[in-house]
């Protein structure tokens, strides 16, 4: 029962860059089909923790970890983990929209093609589905062959979400996905996340506390690499239990 409910089980988990301990002994369960927001001041380790969940930190040579991250009950840091498959199942969307310099269609079809799907009709279906789910289909259906880079910022970000969705992920990690967008595009993405949450678990790092309050079910507050408070978003923003959390979200930090 508990196994099914929690898609990630982070156990006594620490992340180092060389000698520097960026994330300190965090234990946290992430519930499936919910939005969990991670907030905290710059340098608190929130992005580092997020990127550890699909082993993006592997790309930083000096980084190493202690403890476990169980994804669907299996430790993703054990030796025989297929990291490519892990990143298919746990997708990621970044702060700055980063479509490939190719057509809208190719951006979305790229992942499925790598996975070995060759049939045109099947790819067409995957691309349309992903674009519909990313709420972008109506806007781009007549320009699928145009460059992904020709879209607006908000559209590019939704294209990146579609690209991730085409891989049929179980989780998508969002690292400040709207901080480069205007308020309308931000609202579109926020609505989209709440829609996607029904089928994909979402973990989002955000500097925008109002955004965490608006869209997430659970909020994690981190400070100096430690998990200070984790709870229902309602509780964190109305009646936080920890003084540091209270000071941070009321803007009286430091």
């Amino acid at each position: 029962m508990v196994e099914n409910k929690n898609i990630f089980g982070i156990k006594a988990f620490s992340i180092y860059y060389g000698d520097f301990m960026a994330v300190k002994n965090i234990t946290l369960d992430i519930e499936a089909s919910k939005i969990t927001a991670i907030i905290g001041p710059s340098g608190c380790g929130k992005s580092t923790l997020l990127r550890a969940l699909n082993r993006m930190n592997d790309l930083i040579l000096s980084s190493w970890v202690e403890g476990e991250v169980l994804f669907q009950g299996v430790n993703i840091y054990q030796k025989d983990t297929d990291v490519i498959e892990l990143r298919r199942r746990v997708g990621m969307v970044f702060q700055k929209p980063n479509p490939f310099p190719s057509s809208v269609y190719e951006n979305v079809a790229y992942g499925p093609k790598i996975r070995g799907i060759k049939k045109k009709s099947q790819l067409d279906e995957i691309v349309e589905n992903a674009l519909v789910r990313a709420d972008l289909w109506k806007e781009v259906k007549d320009k699928l062959n145009e460059s992904g880079l020709s879209l607006s910022g908000g559209q590019m970000q939704r294209l990146c979400i579609a690209r991730s969705l085409a891989q049929e992920p179980e989780v998508i990690l969002f690292d400040e996905p709207t901080s480069a967008l205007d308020p309308i595009s931000t609202a579109n993405i926020e609505n989209l996340l709440q829609e996607l949450q029904k089928t994909v678990t979402i973990i989002i790092v955000t500097h925008n506390m109002q955004q965490a309050a608006r869209i997430s079910n659970y909020t994690v507050f981190m400070y100096l690499g430690e998990l200070i408070e984790f709870g229902d978003t309602d509780t964190i923003f109305v009646n936080p239990q920890n003084k540091l959390t209270e000071e941070y979200i009321t803007g009286r930090f430091g």
């Binding site: 309050a213 923003f237 109305v238 009646n239 979200i249 009286r252």
Partner: protein, 219 residues
């Protein structure tokens, strides 16, 4: 952030001022009744618009702060509590006006009997207002819980007052109009104490984040 802190401080002071005005209204209305002072009763009625204006001003400021400052956590609880508290305080002011109106009517008639229960009730009710606002300003303590308990004393006095007047009315039906007005006054004070209890409950929410309204044993 310093500006926001100053705004919150100013808001808190306005609530205190409102509380002070309401406390005075209660005290003066009862004084007007007991000392048969029509001028003082008129004064209470005349001053009520100041209470109303301050109530509206505080509400507007709360809405402004919510819109512009997006308060969170204890700030949010403070502002939402303020909005609710002022509604109760304003109602207390109206009840003081009602007492003043009865005072004017009763002063035109002979004194039925000396006032015994009503001054006691007024004193308790005023102390309830004062102490809840103290707790509201100085932060959290056992005080609001004490205030809630005091409401029972006011309720008992209301019943006793009614029973005493009832015996008078049974003996002499001619005094019924007078006695009924005096039961009204007790009822107003009893309502004032209820509003003070509401405020105490909301202050507990503000401090502790838990809602104890409509529960049997606030603890």
């Amino acid at each position: 952030m310093a500006i926001f802190d100053e705004e919150l401080k100013a808001l808190r002071e306005r609530v205190l001022k409102l509380g002070f005005m309401v406390e005075n209204a209660i005290r003066d209305s009862v004084k007007a009744l007991i000392e048969r002072d029509t001028e003082l009763a008129k004064e209470v009625i005349k001053r009520d618009h100041l209470i109303n204006a301050l109530d509206v001003g505080i509400d507007e400021e709360c809405v402004r702060l919510i819109a512009l400052r997006q308060p969170m956590a204890r700030d949010l609880r403070f502002i939402t509590t303020t909005m609710k508290i002022t509604t109760d305080l304003e109602r207390m002011g109206d009840l003081a006006v009602n007492i003043a109106e009865r005072a004017m009517e009763l002063t035109e008639e002979p004194l039925l009997k000396p006032f015994v229960n009503i001054p006691k009730m007024a004193e308790i009710a005023q102390s309830m207002v004062r102490d809840t606002l103290d707790a509201f300003v100085t932060g959290c303590s056992r005080l609001p819980y004490e205030v809630i308990k005091r409401d029972d004393e006011v309720d008992e006095l209301t019943v006793r007052n009614f029973e005493e007047l009832l015996s008078f009315m049974l003996r002499d039906p001619k005094i019924i109009p007078l006695a009924v007005k005096r039961t009204y006054v007790a009822k107003y004070l009893e309502r004032i104490a209820d509003h003070a209890t509401n405020i105490a409950e909301m202050v507990i929410y503000m401090c502790e984040g838990k809602i104890i309204r409509h529960m049997e044993f606030p603890e």
